[in-house]
């Protein structure tokens, strides 16, 4: 898919194969590291704080990143793109800034702790939570979402895709339900932004939380929240206050976007890298990236299914999931397998509970967890074949 362009290698310096893209994507596209270095060396003044040319240049880059994020996600107004530390930061902003004691929230049993932990804190403060159970392969019946709505329901919170087994959740249908009931939808797009088409208007998404360092292929420490057009930001309280470079004569937080939620100097160095990454995604096309990952995922799923003693979780259908595959080897604990994969076969992956105990309860792997291969756009068919060879060897040893 990437003929004509320099393709970064998915092998580390010592030859290991990186299959941990669901945690953080690596390598990064061509131009990302260069954009970071160029920004640091030429324009890394404080954006939006001073009026001199270098500060304006830095702010211009940050604004450009807002525009390209808005364009990628079908959001009409770049001023409604709010940058933060990562997606956890963005989810916390919505949950803590939008919900009040007495409110009710509907979520799924496949959520990451980025959603569940803030919700559990809010539960202790009088917010009630309904966790709609998903099937053992992680699927969510949208009718159950609708059935869970109560008079006090204010928000539906859903991950777009499971970070454990890749199963996609029906966010567009959830958006239609939310709007029909005049409530709001928050989507956790940690696993999908950049690799699945997302259109906030067409998908009826009110709050889109994204992170830069996974399938957007940017650096860590970048991410944010995009507010849909239905959201009155007066209803979303900032969860931190501080300097914004605007209205400096006042000791009260400004009310306008995006400054209301962006106190403190932003990670402009990281955003320079994220901007380059998004431009790379746009040049490649989200559909082309997805197509490559489906092919990789399909080869891995088919290969794993042929190995005796392997249990694969999730849909087991490459077209219905992200390129994140959760599985176990009968008779081998995930942690033992991870060590063997790393030390003997040079395969880098993540095992355990993946910060998602609810999801592991749902698919039946709590508390042991599972092995997770998170494929990325720079992985090759040879990477998949090497990984399958390793799993075959490990499985054979214990049978």
């Amino acid at each position: 898919m990437m003929s004509g362009l320099p393709v970064p290698s998915s092998r580390t310096k010592d030859g290991a194969i990186y299959l941990d893209n669901a945690a953080t994507s690596w390598p990064k596209p061509p131009g990302v590291a260069a954009a970071i270095v160029q920004f640091l060396e030429q324009s890394a003044a404080n954006p939006g704080r001073s009026g001199h040319r270098m500060s304006v240049e830095a702010a211009r880059m940050v604004y450009q990143a807002r525009e390209e994020i808005a364009s990628l996600f079908g959001a009409p107004d770049p001023l409604r793109v709010i940058f933060g530390q990562n997606i956890t930061d963005a989810i916390n902003l919505v949950l803590h800034g939008f919900l009040h004691p007495g409110d009710h929230v509907v979520t799924s049993s496949m959520e990451h702790n980025a959603v569940m932990r803030p919700l559990r804190v809010l539960e202790s403060k009088g917010v009630s939570v309904t966790c709609v159970p998903c099937s053992p392969d992680g699927r969510l019946d949208p009718q159950q979402i609708e059935d869970a709505i109560q008079p006090k329901t204010r928000l539906i919170v859903l991950t777009h895709a499971s970070n454990v087994c890749g199963t996609m959740l029906p966010i567009r249908l959830a958006g239609e339900i939310a709007h029909r009931h005049q409530i709001y939808l928050l989507v956790d797009a940690a696993q999908t932004a950049g690799v699945f088409p997302i259109h906030m208007e067409q998908d009826s998404i009110d709050f889109l939380a994204f992170t830069g360092h996974k399938s957007l292929y940017g650096p860590t420490g970048t991410g944010g929240l995009v507010l849909g057009t239905r959201v009155d930001h007066e209803l979303l309280a900032p969860i931190r206050q501080g300097g914004t470079g605007s209205r400096s004569e006042h000791e009260t937080q400004p009310g306008f976007l995006p400054d209301r939620y962006e106190s403190g100097t932003p990670n402009s160095v990281g955003l320079a890298g994220l901007l380059a990454a998004i431009r790379w995604i746009s040049s490649m096309g989200v559909e082309a990236i997805r197509s490559h990952e489906v092919n990789l995922c399909n080869r891995l799923l088919v290969g794993l299914a042929e190995i005796p003693g392997i249990t694969i979780y999730g849909t087991q259908s490459a077209s219905q999931q992200t390129a994140t595959i959760g599985f176990n080897i009968r008779g081998v604990s995930p942690s033992t397998a991870a060590l063997q994969l790393d030390e003997e076969f040079g395969i880098l992956c993540r095992v355990g509970l993946h910060c998602a105990p609810a999801a592991h309860h749902t698919i039946g792997t709590f508390p042991e967890g599972c092995i997770r291969f998170g494929l990325g756009v720079f992985n090759t068919m040879d990477d998949i074949d090497q990984a399958l060879f390793a799993i075959r060897q490990i499985a054979r040893e214990v049978q």
């Binding site: 702010a59 211009r60 604004y63 807002r66 770049p78 400096s248 306008f256 976007l257 400054d259």
Partner: protein, 74 residues
């Protein structure tokens, strides 16, 4: 009066940058400058334009519904 510049005061640098992009797309000359102290005590930037472009400035800002605080003549 020999006014040569119009200054668009905005709440946020992000708003100034949005206006800069709109003006560039419309062929309007502009420059982001520090807010003149006599106009505001803010520490941010504003958008300086030629005052002769005021009719088009108003049209572009209104068409895009771009947020701004006020337009001052220097």
């Amino acid at each position: 009066m020999n006014a040569s510049h119009a200054v668009i005061l905005v709440d946020s640098t992000s708003h100034a940058l949005r206006i800069e992009k709109l003006f560039q797309a419309s062929g309007l000359a502009c420059k982001l400058i520090p807010v003149p102290r006599h106009l505001s005590s803010d520490c941010g930037v504003c958008v300086r334009c030629n005052s002769t472009d005021l009719p088009l400035i108003h049209q572009v800002l209104d068409d895009a519904r771009a947020p701004y605080h006020s337009i001052e003549i220097l």
